[in-house]
Each structure stands twice: as structure tokens, then as C-alpha cells.
Amino acid sequence: MPIELENLTYTYMPGTPFEARAVDDLSLKIEDGEFLGIIGHTGSGKTTMIGLIAGLLKPTSGRVLIDGEDIAAKGYDRKKLRRKIGVVFQYPEHQLFEETVYKDIAFGPGKLGISEAETEERVRYAMELMELDFDSVKNLSPFELSGGQKRRVAIAGVLAMKPSVLILDEPVAGLDPAGRIHLMNMIRRLNREGVTILLITHSMDDLAENARRVVVLKGSRLLMDGTPAEVFARREELTAASLDVPCVAEIAAKLRARGKDIPPGIIRLDDLQRCVEDMLGGRP
């Protein structure tokens, strides 16, 4: 049971007229190796939730337990937390600051006290994952790169810390379709290698194709928790929470409304294609 949220509540600016509950009595258990999608309308508490999990925010009440230990407790080893949990925030390219790509990616490992030899190995590993050529790019200034490259360097900086849990807050925001595909492929590959993935995204299509569990937040509270098929079947509730369903689920729902026999829980394009071909009765 690596991550457990126990009745977590976080209040912004308590005691002022601007007081607001960003997260309200949230309880959740996340196992090793999961691919968890987190969705919710803007302001529903997603970013606050990951801030709490990563130990960047202190809960107003409730606890965050990692491997059974309360991370807000006195004496908890922060370095252990940083080693375990990596966070890629929105527009991560805004955090680049070093003189060279190598130095920037090596920053995280450096802070973890990792040897120079091992740091170089990790930088190579991270750059390879993000499809950046080590030799030609490592000595460039991060500020000379294109937007897409900058983002890859920033994410590599987090991957070089080899976290066992990777949290990503809308990592594909602003990327073009090709960029999005590459990034989602990388995330999928990491998950296959055993990294737990927590993905905040507005792209329901990406979740339908990749996630094995989806958690829905609405008004700072947990609304739904289930497999993508289970969650996306509840279309009206999602619409009421200002959320879309994946395109595939929408097509399936509309076909069903016209009396067509499409089994429930179809959210992936390959599956839908097979069903539609069956529906049309094989080759025309």
C-alpha cells in the first residue's frame, strides 16, 4: 500500500474572507504499479491533491501515508519522499534554469546525493526515454531549444530521479498531436516498467486508451473511482460535473441509443472498430 490518503482536507487562506476548501475529506488508496487517471473540472482540487501527495503542501486535516508512514510527521525523511515521488507540473519547461541541458537534468539526482558516475548514467537514461540525443544536446543551453525540446528536457530532469511514483499534471498541455503521442508512449512504457503513474489530464481519449483506473473529483470531493469503462459509462453524471467522455464512448452511446447492439464499457477505438464491423455484418 504505497500511497494512502486519509480524510484529507486542505483549506486555502483559513480565517480570511477568501477561505476556500480545495480538497474536502478525500480518502484514496493507490497501489504500486497503478496507472491512475485524475479528472475533474478546473478548481475541483486536482492540483492541490497532488501537491499534498508530493509533500509540497501540508494538510489542514487528515494524513498522507506513504508505505505506512505519515509524511507530515516530524522526522520524516524528506529525501526519501523526493526519491520516491517525482512530479511533472504543468508547463514544466518553465522550471529550466541551468547553463546546460546536462546540468539541468542532473540537478535532481545531485540533490539526492547521487554519485557523479551514476548521475551521468541516469541523465543518459532520462534523455533516451525522452528521445533527446545525449551527445548532441547535453552541452546546449536549455534556453536555445524549441518549446517541445524544452519540455522533454524538463521531464527528463524528473525522470533522472528514478521515482517509483510519477505524478504528471496535464503533461500534454500545449503540445501538438505528434508531441502528445510521443509523450503518452513514454508514460505507458514507464508504467510497463513498474512505475506508478498518476495522470491529471483533460484528455479523456488518452485515459481511455491508457489508464486502468480513473478517479473523478468534483467540488473538492471524490465523485467516482473505478475502471475507465465504469467511469465513462456514467455520461450524465460526468456532464453534470462539467466533464466530457471519450469520443469513442460517445459514439458507442449514440449507437446504442439508435438501438444498435454495442456492448457496454467500450472506450477504446480498436474495440469499437471490432464492434462496428460486427454490427455492419463483416465485409459489405
Binding site: Y12, M13, L56, K79, R82, F89, Q95, L96, K111
Partner: protein, 264 residues
């Protein structure tokens, strides 16, 4: 977050004081500062006190809020008071101990100086409480117009101030985001000695500056696209004009100055 508090802590309202022309308020604040320094006697100071109390009441802002403006400076006031009580030279000695010497004159001087400080801070606090930052900038720009004759970049300064005020909350938000991202990578912003802390700021300051320059670049494109070409030929949507109440306020302050001139 801090972004909800505007510069100088403007307290929105619709009182007479709020509605006074910003230019008149700026000029009057200077006049009131002169007034405070002119006051010599108890009566004089009492008149100043009464005037400020009247302004506070008419602004419909609670005294508690006004005193908050004094809070950051209470230490200086206390220091001035203590220094004058114990170290004033001359006057009838009341008692002394070691290097400390309390005299009648010292006590009076201490009270007068402390009062003066409080009056000055109150007057300027009332200005910023009742005048929105944009009105202040517009007022300053208008008052400084004559300086254009000596090639002083009045419009450019005002534009810079407005844009700075517009972006302060945005930059504060960005600082918070960058700090969180770097903390997640193991950076520490609140530990170590002075030198460590200074170098520790690099992962925060470099991205912040880079981002600020990028913003400036994009903003320039947006401004040029909206035909910005400096101050020449620009009109303003909000035109300031002096009303009866502005002249009335000026008359009151002028009368007080004349009164003080009689040696009060």
C-alpha cells in the same frame, strides 16, 4: 493568496474621500505633511488630530484598518519615543539613572515626535486606502505632465507602473509554481547558511527572470498589435475632473495652514 491584496492596500468604497480627484488628494497629502510639521503647540497638534479623525470618519473605513497601516512602523515610533525620553539633552531633570536621563522637556518632545510620526503615516495611509492604484498612477501622470517640457518620460513611467502593478500578482503566482516544481526536484529554499540560501535561489530566480522577459516580449507584440506607439496622440477613457468637493477639501486644508501659520 497574496494576490488578493492590491498594492498599498486599497480599500474600495464610495465615500466622499474616495471620490475626491486623485490629483487633488496627492497635492493635499503633501500639504497635510507640511501642516503636520508646522504644528508646534498642543492646540496645533490637536487640530491636526481632529482633521485626520474627520477624514477617517468620512472615508467610512474602520479605525482598526487604518491602524494596520501603522503596524509595520510601530517599532520606529517606539524607538523615537524611547530615545527622546531617555536621551534628550537639557530641560528640567526629573530623574536619572546611569546614562539615562528623563526630563520634562524630553517627555514632551518624545510625545510630540511620536505624534508627528503617527500623523504622517496616517495621512499617507489614508491616501492609499482611498485611492485605487490606477487612479494614483493616472493622478501622478497628470501632475507630472509639465515635466514633459524637459523631456522627462512621464507617459512611459506611468505605463511601466501600470504594467508592473498588473503583473505583480501574476508573478507572485508564478514564483509559487516554480518553487513547488524545484522543491519537488529536491531544492531547498529555507535551510542552510546565508551563502547556501543565496545560491539556492538560482533555481527560482533564473526561471522567473526568463519567464518575465518572455512575458514582456509577448506583451510588446500584443501592445503593438493594438496600435500602441507611445504617448503621442493617446486619449483616455476616464477623464479626471475637479468637482465642488475637491475645491472644498482644498479650502479646508488651506484654511488650516493659515491657522497654523499664526504660530500654533
Amino acid at each position: 493568496m497574496i494576490k488578493n491584496i492590491t498594492l498599498g492596500q486599497y480599500f474600495p468604497g464610495n465615500s466622499v474621500i474616495h471620490r475626491l480627484d486623485a490629483r487633488m488628494k496627492l497635492v493635499l497629502v503633501i500639504a497635510v505633511i507640511v501642516l503636520v510639521f508646522m504644528a508646534r503647540t498642543v492646540i496645533g497638534n490637536a487640530v491636526v488630530l481632529a482633521f485626520l479623525a474627520a477624514v477617517i470618519i468620512m472615508s467610512r473605513i474602520s479605525v482598526k484598518f487604518v491602524l494596520r497601516g501603522i503596524k509595520p512602523l510601530w517599532f520606529i515610533i517606539l524607538l523615537t519615543f524611547v530615545l527622546n525620553v531617555f536621551f534628550h539633552q537639557g530641560g528640567n531633570e526629573l530623574f536619572s539613572w546611569w546614562i539615562l536621563r528623563v526630563s520634562e522637556e524630553g517627555l514632551i518632545s518624545a510625545v510630540r515626535l511620536a505624534a508627528r510620526l503617527i500623523f504622517l503615516i496616517t495621512a499617507t495611509t489614508m491616501l492609499t486606502l482611498t485611492t485605487s492604484p490606477i487612479s494614483l498612477t493616472d493622478g501622478l501622470e497628470s501632475l507630472m505632465k509639465p515635466l514633459k517640457a524637459v523631456r522627462f518620460p512621464v507617459h512611459e513611467l506611468a505605463m511601466m507602473m501600470t504594467i508592473a502593478m498588473r503583473f505583480i500578482p501574476t508573478l507572485i503566482e508564478e514564483t509559487d509554481k516554480i518553487m513547488k516544481a524545484q522543491t519537488a526536484r529536491g531544492a531547498e529554499f529555507d535551510s542552510g547558511n546565508v551563502i547556501k540560501r543565496a545560491t539556492g535561489m538560482v533555481p527560482l530566480l533564473v526561471p522567473l527572470f526568463v519567464s518575465a522577459f518572455r512575458r514582456a516580449d509577448e506583451l510588446a507584440f500584443a501592445m503593438e498589435s493594438r496600435c500602441y506607439h507611445g504617448g503621442e496622440g493617446r486619449t483616455r477613457m476616464k477623464v479626471m475632473h475637479l468637482a465642488g468637493r475637491d475645491w472644498a477639501a482644498a479650502a479646508v486644508v488651506a484654511a488650516l495652514i493659515v491657522f497654523m501659520a499664526f504660530g500654533f
